[in-house]
Amino acid sequence: MDTHLRYDSVEAFRSHVASLFESPEAKKRRVLVCCGTGCMAGGAKQVVEAMHEQLQAIDPAKKAELNLVMKRTGCHGFCEKGPLVVLMPQGLFYKNVKPKDVEAIVQESILGDGVIERLLYVEPSTGKPVHKYGDIEFYAKQTRVAMRNIGLIDPANLDDYLLRGGYAALVKALTTMTPEDVMKEVADSKLRGRGGGGFDAGRKWRSCKSAPGDERFLICNGDEGDPGAFMDRSIMEGDPHGVLEGMILGGFALECKQGYIYVRQEYPLAVENLQRALRDARARGLLGDNILGSGFSFDIEVARGGGAFVCGESSALMRSVEGKVGEPRAKYVHATDKGLWDKPTVLNNVETWVCVPRIIEHGSAWFTAMGTERSKGTKAFALTGRVKNTGLVEVEMGTSLRDIIFGAGGGMLSDGPRGKFKAVQTGGPSGGCLPEDMLDLAVDFDTLTKAGSMMGSGGMIVMDHSTCMVDVARYFLSFLVDESCGKCVPCREGLFQMMHIVSRICEGKGTLEDLDRIEDLATAVELGSLCALGKSGPNPVRSTLRYFRHEYEAHILEKKCPAGVCKALITYGIDHDKCDGCGACLRACASSAISGTIKKGETFQIDLLQCDRCGACETVCKRGAISAS
């Protein structure tokens, strides 16, 4: 990339972009290696090194003819199948690539036209391998707006972003629109905050702009803390300029000078990519003083979190940026009036900001054509749990849970009665669990809230019948107890006591009165807590009590855990007809609770007093002779 290049005017920008499209760079065949955090953990770095070596070894004449380039891209959202290698323009998609596979890829698919069958993704619904990226159901069922560039560009290369139409929205705004026009376009798009609350972004911007005072701030909330949710990380890592462009447009509309991106501590790669993007954008004159010679100045700084979930709450986040302890405060005076350093502040999350350039570029009508009556556009979900395809799924608002889980998600992971769908948990730890008869719910902000769950930042955990709903409630409560800041009594003490009661039920020591106690306490915590963490904290218990009350009752009245999860309520037994005396369980048992002789035709006994219900024997038994009841 030309580091000395700086656009002094919109014309300079346009002519450079035009020359980019004409350059050989734009017509290169691309080898895309996913270097998102997930694929890196799977060994993408070694794949990149091997690929580099292999490409270097190609005869220069041949290489010039092929016009090849390798790109390290952001997260494709299909981490489970990583490391991923995609060959463009043909769109060939290889999964689980190991460094030793690279030579074959280069020889057969890059130098030749062959396809390596064993590296292809096999569609679970048809059992057939799929060649092309776009034909894989996981991707085919998605509508990518926020994530449209991720996986296709090198996040470290500004030119890649420009070749995807990057900063065109900014140029459009600077040349043909007034700040008021940008404001109106965003308001007309009915864009709602993707971070959880679903507040109308246009209204938020408007009230910030009309607040008294000349100094305003913008904040991008990248403190994505919900377990399993990683769409914001992927966007920051894979399309950092998209976030910047959104914020610059926000700065233009709100006529403010400074923005902050708050990134959680656990996202070092996001920080690195954002910092580089900021540097590049500043060097090119797309950020900082006098952007593209327009007279408009706006700059962005990255602020890092210290590892507290509660700092994703807007008022706690602002205290954290100020350098104080990240604790929420009452929002009776809104952040749009008194936010960061008591100045009017607009805070939106990563996914919201990245939608802004698309809205400005294509117009609000394009955006409102997608989605439902009150929730427009698309939403990215982090689909995890007991489904075949886990990963990031961006779909139109109003897509049913069934389409997400059984479409892009590829359906349930295991067969048999225990593998059947039981519940889906949406909205992170403060969300709720929805049962099977809610599967046709058209997902948007309002329908989820009405059903007793919430959109949250878009976490979606699918559970089958091997999951105990009381245990799930206990898990999420324990997460929130750990992450509560402890400032107010209902959240600090209330969630702790609620967790204690639910744990007691898991141990078979609960009573029916406990359920009433939980309901009463849950209402008090919802009404009485200071911030949204506490107010929505009882949701996991509330929703499981609402839809799975029978499981609570089974724990209390029959002292049984129907899913066979709660250790105090289960016993392991060996089906002597199925057991073939292989002895795998005997070796796996850490508490020496299994006795017997290893011999064909013999069988084993479990000493229930010794057994600590770890389930290791059940896992290792190949004949399925051991089960919990």
Binding site: V310, R329, Y332, G486, K487, V489, E493, Q497, H500, A524
Partner: protein, 264 residues
């Protein structure tokens, strides 16, 4: 600018910038609080002062708000004793009683809301700290930020740097005085005061030699902060009154000037 609101059916006058709690108390309507003190900014951690607020301007929108932090506005309708308010207060006090079963203040308040004994699991080693944060806030406002809350969630506690005697403490006892439950203990014997694991020597009157109710560290701190003559803090003689009057006059003049500038 003054305007009117309704609290428990009573028409009350309020001013711009005032909080609901202050107005209610002025009108003689009791609202319980534990984390509130006039000397420090409202905090909203105990959640006892919750009241039900109806906003006619928002089509009769209704919500539970903390009175200590909710700014007054014209025509607000406020209920301080509704069923929902009581549900929150009852649960909060029940939770606090499980945390601090020996605190008299909590016992008394809880019994007012029908909680004689906590229905929750009691803490293993209960003390009287309800984590209202008043001590920390008063230390920040009136003294040296010597103490702070440490940890988060259920493990939160009031602490000192590295758990040792706080190096910045001046032994002023502001924390002990504002503590609503009497959790913060101190000792005083002769000319020595003990608090937070530290010993402070009390200032002695230069004329009589008797210990004054102020530590040497505190005297030095106040002298620095309030631009008073250090000799004022080391004697109890009447001669100091004149000087005090002068100092206070200077502060008052400064305040007035400051306010006028703000009005402009």
């Amino acid at each position: 600018m003054a305007f009117f609101m309704t609290i428990n059916g009573k028409r009350v006058e309020a001013n711009e910038g005032e909080m609901v709690l202050a107005v209610a108390r002025r009108a003689g309507i009791p609202i319980p609080t534990l984390c509130h003190h006039e000397a420090v900014e409202p905090f909203g951690s105990c959640r006892l002062c919750m009241v039900e607020v109806t906003k006619p301007a928002w089509k009769g929108w209704k919500g539970l708000m903390t009175a200590c932090l909710y700014p007054c506005a014209p025509d607000l309708v406020i209920e301080t004793d509704s069923e929902r308010v009581h549900q929150v207060r009852r649960n909060v006090l029940d939770l606090l009683l499980a945390r601090c079963p020996d605190a008299d203040v909590i016992q008394k308040l809880a019994s007012q809301y029908g909680v004689q004994q906590s229905s929750f699991m009691q803490r293993e080693k209960p003390d009287k700290c309800i984590l209202c944060g008043l001590c920390v806030r008063v230390c920040e406002t009136a003294a040296t930020s010597a103490i702070s809350t440490v940890q988060r969630g259920h493990g939160r506690e009031i602490g000192t740097p590295w758990g040792g005697p706080p190096p910045d403490c001046i032994g002023c006892l502001a924390c002990a005085h504002v503590c609503p439950t009497g959790h913060i203990q101190f000792e005083e014997s002769g000319s020595v005061r003990k608090i937070w694991g530290r010993e402070f020597e009390l200032q002695r009157c230069e004329k009589t030699g008797k210990p004054l109710p102020i530590t040497k560290d505190q005297a030095a701190f106040l002298a620095k902060r309030q631009t008073m003559n250090p000799s004022y803090l080391s004697t109890s003689a009447d001669a100091n009154r004149k000087q005090t009057a002068e100092t206070l006059g200077r502060i008052a003049r400064w305040n007035k000037l400051g306010m006028q500038q703000e009005v402009k």
